[in-house]
Amino acid sequence: MKSIVAQELVKSYGKGGVKALDGLSLDVEEGTVLGLLGPNGSGKTTTVRVLATLLTPDSGSATVAGIDVLKHPDEVRKVIGLSGQYAALDETLTGWDNLTMFGRLYHLNSSGAKKRAEELLEQFSLTDAARRPIRTYSGGMRRRLDLAASLIVKPKVLFLDEPTTGLDPRGRMEMWGVIDELVKGGVTLLLTTQYLEEADQLADSIAVIDSGKVIARGSADELKNQVGGERLEITVEANQIADATRLVEQVTGVKPSVDHGIRKISAPVSNGSASLIQVLRLLDEAKIHPLDIGLKRPSLDDVFISLTGHVAEVVVGLEVGGKNAAKRK
């Protein structure tokens, strides 16, 4: 069953009629995670706001948990949880105050709200900070509490709008762990992110969105295959480039592309690891010791560029960080 369905959503802002959504359609199978991936301004947040009943689209329709978002927004609000990119909490109040307040607003009775607050604080490791004002919390703690507040009534459908934007790497890892646990619990999740890595990590299925439209849809693997298969990449000393290039061509049967600036040779391969071993053996015989060698599958970065024709600006720096981290392993 589909838990979220959006059809042909259109939303323009302002007099100029800038289209934030331009015929966006998507659907999410019950109990799965859809990663809505796109750069800033691509329409991710607008999509979430429409589905979470905060914004009325100019045209199009949507259902959440089988309920029409435009006709019965009140019913939708009973079954969804929303956690935004800005931690929407009362900063002056304590974590406890916030959770009990939201519990009451979800119409739990007083003792029910307190009990649920306790459970959630425990679940999100915030019990020690429960009696402190939110303004003293770290970014990661705020996000966790914000997420906790959206889980008070165990929603059927959860919307997380850029849950890790602005968090440090540790906060991000913690948040990923928490989200992973939730997903195991069976909630349907729509997650927006500008981190390709995050969509890859958390989502069952990814919808790439650009200029208010879904431009590609599939699992991370499917999207990567759409761009092309594996590539062999070797970095060598400058004076060995010519020799190494010849060896790579000999193995792969394709003329490799060479980037002299970073001394990198790369070529597509069909039988990845076998080619890698063969090239390594030949290089060894030729007494060439590569500085770096490996098989590279296209990153979602590559996917994004090949789909949109432009780089997902915000993402590039982070993705480089990600690659370096992977190398260190």
Partner: protein, 264 residues
């Protein structure tokens, strides 16, 4: 119905909790009017010949009370703008609560803060010589009037807060409008010195009718008003009630509509 009452009470309770968690806000909200009492009492009080029994302070206190409750709209506007800015309004709007709960909760909460402020100001006034002479029932009615006026002004604050979406803009906008309103009135000085056209404005000004009404309820002759002999200056209590009714009747529905459609 019962559910929507409990919804707005939760929002109101949130504001009371804020007062406990950051008492500075209430302290400053109280110090400022108390300071005004002292400044006007001792700086202008000597220069202005009031001609009423008990001196200038009898006329001054209703003026300062009204000015203070008129500024409730600032508290409301700034509070809501801050909630908008932080995305809290979005969260409230994603909850299954009645569409009027947040704005009613806010206006009621701000009015409860006024209770505390008015008590403190009344005490400061008493210390510097304010002696309402109309008896406990009328005095109580006077304060009730003040709270009701603050509450109705608060609805204008809702619209400002939801429209400007930024705390500082809300603050500037409110000060630019409320200050002239409170000074172009009979609150602190007689309107006789103003050009005739301003006298009319001053007498139709809700702040003036409120001040005149409170002077009446607290038992002081309103020697600062009624120079242009306009109807509101002669029927201040009735006129104030009409103003309050109009403020709520016009601005409350607009506020709720605004809240339902507001989007960041």
């Amino acid at each position: 119905m019962l559910q929507s009452v409990s919804d707005f009470l939760v929002i109101t309770k949130r504001q009371l909790l804020q007062m406990i968690r950051i008492p500075e806000v209430l302290i400053f909200a109280t110090i400022q009017p108390a300071m005004f009492v002292l400044l006007f009492r001792y700086v202008f009080g000597g220069a202005i010949d009031s001609g009423v029994e008990g001196g200038y302070v009898q006329l001054l206190m209703p003026g300062i009370f009204v000015q203070t409750v008129a500024f409730t709209l600032a508290a409301t506007a700034v509070g809501l703008a801050a909630d908008m800015q932080k995305g809290l309004i979005d969260r409230f709007r994603s909850l299954p609560i009645s569409r009027s709960a947040v704005v009613i909760g806010r206006t009621v909460g701000d009015t409860l803060q006024n209770v505390v402020t008015l008590i403190v100001m009344g005490l400061v006034g008493f210390l510097v010589g304010w002696r309402p002479s109309s008896g406990p029932i009328k005095i109580f009615l006077g304060f009730l009037f003040l709270l009701a006026f603050g509450y109705s002004m608060s609805w204008i604050g809702v619209i400002i807060g939801l429209s400007v979406r930024e705390e500082r803009v809300a603050q500037n906008l409110v000060f630019m409008t409320v200050f002239p309103l409170t000074f172009l009135s009979n609150a602190f000085a007689p309107t006789t010195g103003m050009p005739k056209i301003l006298q009319y404005f001053a007498e139709w000004n809700p702040v003036s009718t409120m001040v005149a009404a409170c002077r009446e309820l607290f038992g002081t002759e309103n020697v600062f008003g009624a120079t242009a002999n306009s109807w509101p200056s002669q029927n201040p209590i009735l006129m104030s009630l009409i103003y309050m009714f109009l403020l709520v009747a016009i601005f409350a529905p607009i506020s709720v509509r605004k809240y339902v459609r507001v989007s960041k």
